[in-house]
Symmetry: C2
Subunit: 214 residues, 2 copies
C-alpha cells in the first residue's frame, strides 16, 4: 500500500484529501511526526509553497534513521487559496493569513471572510468572479532508484593471448564475425561493438530523452 | 551540460566510457573525489554491484555540503565481465579477481588470462563460446524533484456568509452552476467539484500509473 504523509496540521484539508483519495492509500499527517521541522511558506506562488513544504519534509524524513517507522512513500503538500478578480487575484497565497496583514500567522476564518466582504462591498455582481486554486506537490521519500542499462557482446576464447590494446580479457576474446581479438581490433572497432558500447548507447538515449523534456 | 561521475578508478573503463559517450557530457571520476568511500562489490550479479556502487556514491554526494563543487548530476557505475559457457558462466562477476580466488582484490590481467587459458586448455573450438557483459547503473545525485498537480474551481463571491460546512472562504464562494455556497453544498458535493478534488484526481492518476509499472 502506498502511504502518503499529508504535510499539514489543518484537519479540514486532511479530511478532504482522505475523503477524495480514499483507499487504497495509507495516510499519515504531521501529527504523526511531532519532531518534523516547521516549514515557512514564504514563496509567492502556490506551487512554490507546496514544493518547498513537500521537499523539506521529504529531505527530513530521508535523513532520519533509515527504516524508522512510520515511513511514508511520499510527502504530499497542498497549497491553495482564493483568487478574486476584482482584487487582482488577492488574497491568493495569503488566503489563510489575509486579515492579519503582514503577520506570518494564519487568521481565524471569520476575520478573513469579514475582510473580504468589506473590500468587495461596492463590487457589483458581474465583477464578483473568483476561483479557488489548489496546487499539490508530491515528493518521494526514498532514495532515487538506480536505472539499469545492459549490453552484451558474443564471441569466442582463443588458445593464446594476442594484441596489446584494451584491457582485461581483451587479448583472449574474439567477437562474433571477426578473426582478431578485442586487443588486436583496436579502440575504435571495440568501442563500436563492445558490451560497454551497447550499454552506453541505451544510457545515452535515456539521457537525451531526459534533457529534451520541457 | 550534464555531468557524470564515472564511479571507477579503472583508467581503461574511464577512457572507453568517455570515448563512447563523448560530448555533450562533462566527466568526473573517483580521482576527483579522494574522500569518497570505497564501495565493496560483493553482490553476485553485475546489476547488484553496479546499483550498489552508484547508489552509495550518490548518497554520499547528496549528504556532502549542498552546492559544494564538483557536483555531478549523475553517478554512473559500470560492472562488467566475461561469461564463458564451458565454465558455466565463470568468471562472471569475479572477472577482475579471478586469479586471486577468494581474495577480495583485483588480480593482474595477465594472471587472470593465464588462469582462464589453463582451465580451457582441453576445450574444443566449438565449445569456447563466451560473451562480455556490461551493466551500467545510473543514479541522480540531486534531490527528487517535486511533481506538481493543480486544480481550479470557478465561481462568485456572495454578499454575506452562508452555510456551516467546509472551512476558510467556503461560506462566501458559490461555484459556477450552483446557487449555494461551498459551505451549504456539503462535503460530498464540494469534494466532487472543488479545486482540491481536481488536483487530487491528477495525483491519483499519476500514482495509479506508478503502481502498475513492472
Amino acid at each position: 500500500m502506498t502511504t502518503l504523509l499529508i504535510a499539514t496540521r489543518n484537519a479540514h484539508k486532511v479530511g478532504e484529501i482522505q475523503a477524495i483519495l480514499g483507499a487504497p492509500f495509507g495516510f499519515l499527517t504531521l501529527n504523526d511526526f511531532p519532531a518534523a521541522p516547521k516549514v515557512v511558506e514564504d514563496a509567492n506562488t502556490f506551487a512554490g509553497n507546496a514544493t518547498k513544504k513537500a521537499g523539506e519534509l521529504a529531505r527530513w524524513l530521508r535523513n532520519r534513521n533509515a527504516g524508522r517507522a512510520p515511513a511514508p512513500d511520499y510527502v504530499l503538500a497542498d497549497d491553495s487559496g482564493l483568487e478574486v478578480d476584482a482584487l487582482n487575484g488577492a488574497p491568493g497565497v495569503y488566503s489563510a493569513r489575509f486579515a492579519g496583514g503582514e503577520r506570518d500567522e494564519n487568521s481565524p476564518d471569520a476575520e478573513n471572510n469579514a475582510k473580504l466582504l468589506r473590500l468587495l462591498q461596492d463590487v457589483p455582481p458581474e465583477r464578483r468572479t473568483a476561483r479557488f486554486r489548489c496546487v499539490i506537490a508530491l515528493v518521494p521519500v526514498g532514495e532515487h532508484p538506480a536505472r539499469i542499462f545492459d549490453g552484451a557482446c558474443e564471441g569466442r576464447i582463443q588458445w593464446a593471448a594476442s594484441g596489446h590494446g584494451g584491457f582485461g580479457y581483451d587479448p583472449l576474446f574474439v567477437p562474433e564475425g571477426f578473426v582478431q581479438s578485442f586487443a588486436e581490433l583496436g579502440e575504435e572497432v571495440k568501442n563500436r561493438l563492445s558490451h560497454r558500447a551497447r550499454a552506453l548507447a541505451k544510457l545515452k538515449a535515456f539521457l537525451d530523452g531526459t534533457r529534451s523534456e520541457p
